[in-house]
């Protein structure tokens, strides 16, 4: 029997959902609003909401003082680069775990996940030392490597879950049809897993984009992404909320736009295989 949904009930839930959504969105909204205020209105008490003299001077100052586009470019390189490397490693790994599992496959999956439970700061010192010793501190290669490694468990897990949904018959049919392992992965598995791979890619770009601990600690200038850009506004000259907000808005804008346009793909990917 279908559950009866009265219009009143529906309206109630809609209002509740909007309230929860707005609470979650509020900090972002506040940052965006603040970025258009002067430093004085930014710290006004009681806070000013919408009726102030909107100004874009913060953006100009921020761009003048630090080269936004260089940080943006670094963020793009690090997030896309680490995701691409991660996918290249994770597709074969997830293939083998999903389709030719061994006795230890489940353990390996759990072990991979367990590395995410280690506090990152615990290995900060050795990694900084290794980076300096290899002369790679503040380099793309180091950062892409580190970001790949920290996100790899998630990429493997996500792909593994998607691959599990693909009927093994189809891969066996490809094998019977003369496909080598490479053609099987390239022409059959990957195209069938595109929705899953796409959402994995999107999610990992977002994770790598937002990653702050390692990007802050392993970069100075040349490989520094937007996280460093924001951080540079938070301390040295005391707190300038409006400029900090402008910097933050500029840093999150690209990812917000990416998320907005790909939300369908993301939701489809995250629920992939839930219904046949």
């Amino acid at each position: 029997m279908a559950r009866a949904v009265t219009p009143q009930k529906k309206a109630l839930w809609t209002v509740l959902a909007w309230i929860v959504g707005l609470i979650i969105f509020f900090p972002i909204l506040w940052i965006i609003l603040t970025s258009f205020k002067t430093e004085a209105t930014a710290i006004a008490d009681p806070p000013v909401w919408f009726f102030f003299d909107w100004t874009t001077e913060n953006y100009g100052i921020v761009q003048d003082r630090s080269d936004y586009f260089r940080f943006l470019w670094n963020s793009v390189i690090l997030s896309v680069g680490s995701t691409a490397v991660g996918i290249l490693i994770a597709v074969p790994a997830a293939w083998s775990m999903a389709f030719v599992p061994g006795r230890r496959t489940k353990d390996i999956l759990m072990w991979m996940l367990s590395t995410k439970m280690l506090p990152a700061v615990g290995v900060l010192f050795p990694i900084v030392l290794i980076a300096k010793w290899l002369n790679m501190y503040d380099s793309y290669i180091l950062l892409i490597g580190v970001l790949t490694l920290i996100n790899l468990p998630i990429i493997v897990w996500m792909l593994y879950t998607y691959f599990k949904e693909i009927p093994v018959d189809i891969l066996e049919a490809a094998r019977m049809d003369g496909a080598t392992l490479r053609s099987e992965i390239l022409y059959i598995l990957t195209p069938m897993a595109i929705p899953g791979i796409a959402s994995t890619v999107l999610l990992n770009i977002i994770l790598a984009w937002n990653e702050a601990f390692w990007t802050l600690n392993l970069t100075t200038v040349s490989a520094a992404p937007l996280t460093k850009f924001i951080a540079s506004y938070s301390s040295p000259e005391g707190l300038f909320f409006a400029k900090l907000s402008a910097a933050s808005t500029m840093a999150i804008a690209p990812i917000l736009i990416l998320g907005w346009f790909s939300q369908k793909q993301l939701v489809r990917g995250l629920t992939f295989g839930a219904v046949k």
Binding site: R175, M176, D177
Partner: protein, 334 residues
């Protein structure tokens, strides 16, 4: 060519031996059906031949060459799966072209073979569609098309008709038989349906728990089942198996008599009984007759218009030359 030889092939999954040492020869051009109840190892055996499972010991030879360790791609065999296993992201044309593409066959030859297969299988109008837009029967034909374009040494069918509805199943059965007549290629066909086995096979291999119970032509299995299992498995409705005094009279532990080999009379006969359930098929009627002194009702096949009803008294007479006798190990007494 497509001669396949299994030499002492075994398969173990961990500690469980699903195929004990097994020998079997399949001749070139034969239509061989592996039949048996679920879990009898018939699909595993097919997958061993296909190379989708590794054998635990023993040897598989295809056309005299040792193929035991060869990957599926190198065995020159084509397989049709129960689930069809079409590539959902490719059009019918690309599905059928896939094995040709993998074999590196040039585009013109690919097109020629695809057009050919499509014509044979009535798929010409559907070549540009995706598998998702086809009916079950059409999907199955695409799967067969994908198998035939390769011109393989042998075709392997893994319960290909199980997902089709009854009417379509009969049609596809005929199509596959016709295909075999035309191509004369070795076919190995796995099914649990003994009607499919009887109607299609040159040679039936009856399996139980990984063991071959009997190998023979459909009529050999029907006329001379080697043991009780085959006697009960082949034939529809099942052969009546009778123990006890009645069997002892024939010098056997168990006797078997098929429903179609029992004469029914309202007046006189060997066994006296009462009619229980009757199943009217139009052409035939199956009566379940409760005979005094026998535990199980006897199934009898009679003409379509025999006027017997529930509770009527009948006399049954088994045709003496059609009685199968089995010893206490369940083996046929010659």
């Amino acid at each position: 060519m497509g001669r396949i030889t299994l030499d002492k092939v075994t398969k173990r999954f961990g500690e469980v031996e699903v195929i004990p040492p097994l020998d079997l020869t399949i001749d070139d051009g034969e239509f061989v059906v592996f039949v048996g109840p679920s879990g009898c190892g018939k699909s595993t055996l097919l997958r061993l031949i296909a190379g989708l499972e590794d054998v635990s010991s023993g040897q598989i030879r295809i056309d005299g060459e040792d193929a035991t360790q060869a990957p599926p791609a190198k065995r020159k065999l084509a397989m049709v799966f129960q689930s069809y296993a079409l590539y959902p992201h490719m059009s019918v044309r690309k599905n059928i072209a896939f094995p040709l593409r993998m074999a590196g066959i040039d585009k013109a030859e690919q097109d020629r073979r695809i057009e050919n297969a499509a014509k044979v299988l009535n798929l010409t109008d559907y070549l540009e569609r995706r598998p998702g837009q086809l009916s079950g029967g059409q999907r199955q034909r695409v799967a067969i098309g994908r198998a035939i374009v390769r011109e393989p040494a042998a075709f392997l069918f893994d319960e290909p008709l199980s997902n089709l509805d009854a009417a379509l199943r009969v049609g596809m059965r005929l199509e596959i038989s016709e295909l075999h007549e035309r191509l004369k290629t070795t076919m190995i066909y796995v099914t649990h349906d003994q009607v499919e086995a009887m109607t299609m096979a040159d040679k039936i291999v009856v399996l139980r728990a990984g063991n071959i119970e009997q190998v023979g032509s459909p009529l050999t299995l029907y006329r001379e089942p080697r043991n009780l299992f085959v006697a009960g498995f082949i034939g529809s409705p099942k052969m009546n198996l009778i123990d006890g005094a009645e069997a002892a009279k024939h010098g056997a532990r168990t006797i078997g008599i098929r429903p179609e080999h029992i004469d029914v009379s309202p007046q006189a006969g060997t066994w006296e009984g009462t009619v229980g359930v009757s199943e009217h098929l139009g052409s035939d009627t199956f009566f379940h007759v409760h005979v005094d002194g026998m535990k199980e009702p006897i199934t009898v096949r009679a003409g379509g218009e025999v006027g017997l009803h529930h509770g009527d008294k009948v006399y049954l007479t088994p045709q003496p030359e059609r009685i199968h006798r089995f010893d206490d190990k369940g083996l046929r007494i010659a």
